[in-house]
């Protein structure tokens, strides 16, 4: 019997996994020795769609970049129990190292089990941690194990999980809530989506343990609406868990009862902030509350509530099964365990990477991610999204640790790592993030609402070549007042992308302001287009495609661009097959 497993996370499906699945379903109809299954994202997004073949002995052959046209020969190979004819699809050994170099705890089931099959989860120690907890541990003992593990909030702030659990436990009252923050709003981070899509029962089990620890009878998962597949799989998993008795009354015949429901977000970045999330759960505009009181004292409907991120919960069942010490054995003095990063941008091997804390940025980007693609040079890595910053090449040996990353001016954040090469303009990057925060500011605090808008205006004029002396200092001043004047964590950290860009790439800002040039040649207003007469063969394609007829030249003669007419739309560069159009 061969198990044929198609990786069907959102990204796999976008790359064509559903078509591959459908084609395999048809092709394998008559092959009785095959079982077709799906699994979540294994994190090797750069190789999607992926099909794993497990033979009778469990040995794995991994096929990558599979197309629906390959289904017939895959079925044939499965039937013959001989995969030698699929050699061209088998993963390159060097690419396979991407997974082999990782240590997977939060992602332990992603890409391994079928997320829609609770029995698949049960076969991998599923629901054994909550069984152990309910049969042999007090809530205090659970919190103690989490304390020993050193687990800290993986959503960005890095606050010790045990402390929050303990505070909610010690709060007076019978009615308490456990909430999972799955409003993964950080652009460039998608580990929470992968966990929910790939291991929804793992999340449910982690939340159950948390609910038991704080004394909650109701658990809520706040998922962003942009993740329809995650919502569907989690709904299915909750139904299965209810049927199996893992959710509901007297779980494992104990006194512990807990129900769980999903609340779909409606699209607001600020709802990743826990008090804004609570407002949204209550049906209001997601505007942050003043703290204290903290949610542990007065959260959802002003009852004691505890909110953790998806990845935090994904570690919990593992910690309770293996003990807090096993988790704490990994990592650094101040940051324990592993962390998942979403590696994207101009990287050769992009995807999800889970490694123990204490590795360096270089390990992740170059050793695992394979460095920059297309032979370009590494320029910076953006970490922490709109609350983080860009870390330059000189700091690539920075250790992955909350404190060490914080010292660079960026933050660990939720784990987005967007890699940039020499073609990315840092003024443009700062402008991109301010455009984001200005749009997403909830409007409650003046400094955030207006400050980000003013900063965006300054950055826009710098990028447009209208920057003035003193603009950098003006930006710094605005940054300082937003940090001081904003109520919530997202507002206070909104200036970080600009501050780090100025700190490490000040010369680029000055080039824009003083020399009116964009060193990365990205800011349209500051570049010009020209045709290299050596490379141009006079095919006329660029001239025919130019919307403003700014290109002159006879057939088979080098063409020229009239700068006074050119609108810098880039169409000629897009159309030229000889690379003759240069951006200067």
């Amino acid at each position: 019997m061969t198990k044929v497993v198609v990786g069907a996370g959102s990204c796999g499906i976008a790359a064509g996994a559903q078509k591959v699945y459908d084609a395999l379903h048809a092709a394998l109809r008559d092959v009785s020795s095959a079982e077709l299954k799906i699994t979540g994202c294994n994190g090797m997004c750069f190789l999607e769609p992926i099909v794993d073949l497990y033979d009778g002995a469990g040995a794995l052959t991994r096929l990558v970049r599979v197309s629906e046209n390959d289904a017939a020969r895959i079925a044939e190979a499965v039937k013959r129990e001989d995969v030698s004819a699929l050699a061209d699809l088998v993963i390159d050994p060097e690419d396979a190292l991407f997974l082999e170099k990782q240590t997977r705890i939060a992602l332990r089931h992603c890409g391994v089990i079928d997320p829609e099959d609770v029995e698949d989860y049960e076969r991998t120690d599923g629901y054994q941690a909550i069984r152990k907890v309910l049969s042999s541990m007090t809530p205090e003992e659970v919190i103690e194990q989490i304390k020993i593990s050193g687990l800290a909030g993986r959503g960005g702030a890095g606050f010790p999980t045990w402390f929050k659990w303990n505070a909610a436990r010690e709060s007076a009252g019978d009615e308490k809530y456990l909430i999972c923050n799955a409003d993964e709003g950080d652009p460039g981070a998608f580990m929470d989506r992968a966990v929910i899509e790939g291991d929804p029962h793992g999340l449910i089990e982690g939340m159950l343990i948390g609910a038991y620890a704080i004394g909650a009878k109701e658990a809520i998962v706040y998922v962003r609406a942009e993740y329809p597949l995650a919502i569907r799989r989690l709904e299915k998993a909750i139904r299965q868990a209810e049927e199996k008795g893992y959710l509901g009354e007297h779980i494992f015949e104990s006194d512990f009862s807990c129900k769980m429901r999903i609340k779909a977000g409606a699209g607001a970045f600020v709802c990743g902030e826990e008090t804004a999330l609570i407002e949204s759960l209550e049906g209001s505009r997601g505007m942050p509350r003043l703290k204290p009181p903290f949610p542990a004292q007065a959260g959802y409907w002003h009852k004691p509530s505890n909110i953790n991120n998806v990845e935090t919960f994904a570690n919990v069942a593992w910690i309770l099964l293996h003990g807090g010490e096993a988790f704490a054995a990994m990592g650094t003095e101040g940051s324990k365990g592993t962390k998942v990063f979403a590696l994207t941008g101009k990287i050769r091997r992009g995807g999800l990477v889970e490694i123990p804390m204490g590795k360096t940025l270089r390990d992740v980007i170059f050793d695992i991610g394979g460095g920059i693609r297309d032979g370009k040079t590494f320029k910076a890595v953006q970490m922490g999204g709109p609350s983080g910053g860009c870390i330059p090449a000189s700091l690539l040996d920075t250790v992955i640790d909350y404190k060490a990353l914080g010292a660079t001016g960026a933050i660990m954040g939720s784990g987005g790592m967007v890699v940039m090469d020499e073609d990315t303009c840092m003024v443009g990057m700062a402008k991109f993030f301010l455009d984001f925060t200005a749009k997403e500011s909830c409007g409650k605090c003046v400094h955030c609402r207006l400050g980000t808008k003013r900063m965006l205006e300054v950055l826009t004029r710098i990028a447009d070549g209208n920057g003035k002396d003193g603009d950098i200092e003006l930006l710094e001043e605005l940054c300082a007042s937003i940090k001081d004047g904003a109520l919530c964590g997202l507002g206070q950290t909104a200036p970080n992308p600009v501050l780090t860009a100025i700190r490490y790439f000040r010369d680029e800002f000055e080039a824009h302001i003083k020399d009116k040039t964009c060193p990365a040649k990205e800011c349209t207003a500051l570049v010009s287009y020209a045709i290299d007469p050596e490379k141009c063969i006079g095919c006329t394609k660029c001239a025919r495609g130019c919307p403003v007829h700014a290109i002159d030249g006879a057939v088979k003669q080098p063409h020229t661009i009239r700068a006074d007419i050119c609108i810098k739309c880039g169409k000629c560069a897009e159309n030229c097959r000889f690379g003759a159009v240069e951006v200067r």
């Binding site: 959102s10 790359a15 699209g267 209550e282 994207t344």
Partner: protein, 168 residues
């Protein structure tokens, strides 16, 4: 909510099962608005007023919530809703060029709908498919690793499908 632009009357009975379930449930306003939008395709004014009456929530608060979250629309959208990802990874991989291609091909900017009512363009924050950037989602389908040519091809195919009367 005083508006003279439309005297359209929505079929409010369609919303009755939703309101029967949720009208009395504390904190369920966003869920009700989401379900209303699923039914009508957007949030018409008379529907919002009806929700206000049934849930006994001030209409001003409902409009406040409906305008706060990007998911909610106060105007109808085209048959194909293009959600173009403007997340960091897509930005680094030139999603601006894809936006320009869509604008040139369809003649619409962010938030606008084509005159034939076929396409609406909406820029969104991260769709979470960063490794396939640049990405867009059209109705329920996600398209990754976009180039200007690929984008034009997708839009052309959808327009042809619409002519033939098919859906996505």
């Amino acid at each position: 909510m005083d508006c003279s632009c439309s005297a359209a009357h929505s079929d409010l009975t369609l919303l009755s099962p939703v309101l029967d379930t949720y009208a009395g449930v504390k904190g369920s306003l966003i869920t009700v608005l989401q379900k209303a939008q699923e039914i009508y395709g957007y949030l018409p004014q008379d529907v919002l007023e009806h929700i206000a009456q049934r849930m006994e929530i001030p209409a001003a608060k409902i409009l406040g919530v409906a305008t706060f979250y990007t998911q909610f629309r106060l105007k109808p959208v085209g048959k194909y809703l293009i959600q173009l990802c403007k997340g960091t990874a897509c930005h680094v991989n030139n999603s601006d060029l894809i936006e320009k291609t869509i604008t040139e091909t369809l003649g619409i900017h962010d938030g606008e709908t084509t005159e034939d009512g076929l396409f609406t363009l909406k820029n969104v924050a991260c769709l979470g498919c960063c490794s396939l950037s640049p990405v867009m989602m059209i109705n329920a389908e996600t398209y990754g690793s976009l180039t200007p040519d690929k984008t034009r091809e997708i839009l052309r195919t959808l327009a042809q499908n619409a002519e033939k009367g098919a859906t996505v």
